[in-house]
């Protein structure tokens, strides 16, 4: 992916602080599920949209449609629409559905059924390639989603055609009803991608500098970046719990959570 802007921990942390706070507020207010997986990908989204998103030259496909609050909050923070609109999330008649909707400005495709975004993104990348447009597709997948065979069909295709796709795995190690390694063993995960002839990096998915460095490459080759993440990061009460996939924070947990988020990010933010 082409280098866009100079890294600033302060800029992406300010984004993450806002996005993560909105995620837990939205989940609390609407008693919505899927908070854990929304929080585990927040740092990546903050870095990507702070430094690498460029209209027309990049497309972000958000395959883990259930974790919609973080992409909605991200797009709001980066002015794709008025952040006030987030208040309608999941309400009757709102375009902000509880799985990602392409009717929301900035969203490429609707997702919610897992294993769909990678094939669609590969079609976009293939079309861009034959028209010789400079373009990079970034596709965010959950780890549990790798159970779906369509992803592996698509990875074969992307590797074969050397499409300029950056595949992101939010490896928080928890899926709907258990640990990924208990439900269907993914390990050795990096080896699997490398065996598909895909360049693969594995990094700390909450380290903004590491995310920036991983994305900051002039390579047009297909790549997989495995983000080692923590479900519900950085909420002390909810981190690494299956419950965070289902339960919204109660009043007390919301206050604690907002405090945890503030504490976690403010150290990086220049005053």
């Amino acid at each position: 992916m082409k280098f866009q802007k100079k890294f600033s921990h302060s800029i992406s942390s300010a984004a993450a602080l806002n996005i993560a706070s909105n995620v837990i507020k939205m989940c609390a207010e609407k008693k919505a599920a899927h908070m854990g997986g929304a929080l585990s990908i927040t740092d990546f989204l903050s870095v990507y949209y702070s430094f690498f998103y460029e209209n027309k030259a990049t497309s972000l496909f958000y395959s883990k449609g259930h974790a919609c609050t973080s992409i909605y909050a991200t797009l709001a923070y980066f002015n794709f629409f008025d952040p006030k609109e987030l208040a309608t999330y999941s309400e009757n008649g709102s375009v902000f559905t509880s799985h990602v909707s392409h009717h929301v400005p900035g969203v490429e495709i609707s997702t919610g059924s897992l294993g769909h975004a990678l094939p669609v993104a590969s079609g976009v990348s293939y079309a861009k390639k034959i028209t010789k447009s400079s373009h990079n597709s970034c596709i965010i997948l959950s780890d549990g989603e790798l159970n779906e065979g369509s992803n592996w069909e698509s990875l074969l295709f992307i590797a074969h055609h050397r499409l300029p796709c950056t595949v992101i795995i939010d490896y928080n190690k928890l899926q709907s009803f258990g640990l990924t390694n208990e439900v269907l063993q993914l390990e050795p995960l990096k080896d699997k991608f490398q065996a598909f002839n895909l360049e693969c990096l594995q990094i700390d998915g909450h380290d903004h500098q590491a995310i920036f460095n991983a994305l900051d490459s002039s390579s047009n080759e297909p790549r997989v970046i495995i983000l080692d993440t923590v479900k519900a990061h950085p909420l002390k009460y909810a981190m690494n719990t299956l419950e965070s996939h289902y339960y919204p924070p109660n009043e007390q947990q919301l206050l604690e959570g907002l405090n945890d988020i503030q504490e976690h990010y403010e150290r990086y933010i220049c005053k």
Binding site: S113, H116, P119, V120, G123, S125, A127, S150, S154
Partner: protein
């Protein structure tokens, strides 16, 4: 039908740089000419229909008019959810074309019988569903689906189907008069589509029948009023389809007639006989005619 599809698609692709053909690793001795003429607009996606359906949606998102070509069940049932969600919901200009409709690949066994796909696809919003009966209808439908941005499905048989000498030109969403044996419209009308309509046509011609035959090459969307008006003229209607009785052509016609009757827009209902597959699989070897016969599809002949 297959050869007409490919030769006409080549002609259309010469004039329209947005036409793109994707196959699921088949097309030996069929697709080479397209591939060689338009290498940038041809792609063999491999044996991976779920991936192909999604990537077709991606190509369409970039402005291509995509054709996804494969055998019967594979570009349809195998990737039904990708069709619903990636293609139809996003109104992607993807046209699925399947060879081997009905029992056309009969001897290849149940895996290759396409006998449920029209009913399943018909329930998906935005989809145009087509089952032409002869090469001339294939050509007409191809023009329609190429100029219409809706996602679509077209069921083909194989190759070598006879031309039907249609009485009227094809009108989108309406019945297409293939054979007219009656002058006063008081007799019986057959309604069919796909390759089995071609068999009925030959039978009616041979018998110099006084009945009529309509094809319904586009099963969805339908121009209901025109269809009802045409069918009003008959006392007896025989609907024949090489498809499960549930959900296909007969269901589509009956739904319209009953809705019109219930809303009092229609005073009486014609007597309707339906010939189709009675909720069964065929699990023995056999060519198309053998399996059609075994499934009872030739029982329409008793009405001739």
């Amino acid at each position: 039908m297959r050869d007409t599809f490919v030769s006409n698609l080549i002609e259309l692709a010469k004039a329209d740089p947005k036409i793109f053909l994707v196959c699921g690793d088949l097309g030996f001795n069929v697709l080479e000419e397209f591939r060689d003429a338009f290498p940038d607009r041809f792609l063999n996606g491999g044996i991976s229909e779920q991936n192909i359906a999604g990537l077709c949606a991606g190509l369409a998102k970039e402005g291509y008019k995509v054709f996804f070509y494969s055998i019967g069940n594979f570009p349809t049932l195998r990737c039904m959810e990708q069709i619903r969600y990636d293609i139809a919901y996003h109104f992607a200009n993807v046209n699925i074309v399947a060879v081997g409709g009905g029992y056309a690949y009969g001897s290849l066994s149940t895996s290759h019988h396409a006998t449920e796909e029209i009913g399943m696809l018909r329930t998906i919003p935005n989809m145009m569903i087509c089952a032409p009966s002869d090469p001339s209808e294939v050509k007409e439908i191809l023009k329609i689906i190429t100029s219409d941005p809706s996602p679509s499905y077209m069921r083909l048989n194989r190759s070598g189907e006879d031309l039907i000498d249609f009485v009227d030109p094809l009108e989108q969403g309406s019945l297409h008069l293939a054979y007219s044996g009656s002058s006063d419209f008081q007799g019986k009308a057959f309604i069919s589509n796909g390759a089995i309509a071609n068999e009925i046509y030959k039978d009616l011609v041979l018998a110099s029948s006084s009945d009529d035959l309509f094809t319904l090459p586009i099963v969805k969307p339908l121009r209901e009023k025109i269809i009802v008006k045409k069918l009003l003229q008959y006392k007896e209607i025989i609907i024949v389809e090489e498809h499960q009785l549930i959900g296909g052509l007969g269901s589509a016609i009956q739904e319209i007639l009953f809705d019109y009757y219930s809303s009092s827009e229609l005073a009486t209902l014609p007597r309707i006989h339906r010939v189709g597959i009675k909720d069964t699989f065929q699990s023995v070897a056999g060519n198309q005619d053998f399996l059609r016969d075994k499934a009872g599809l030739f029982s329409y002949r008793r009405y001739i």
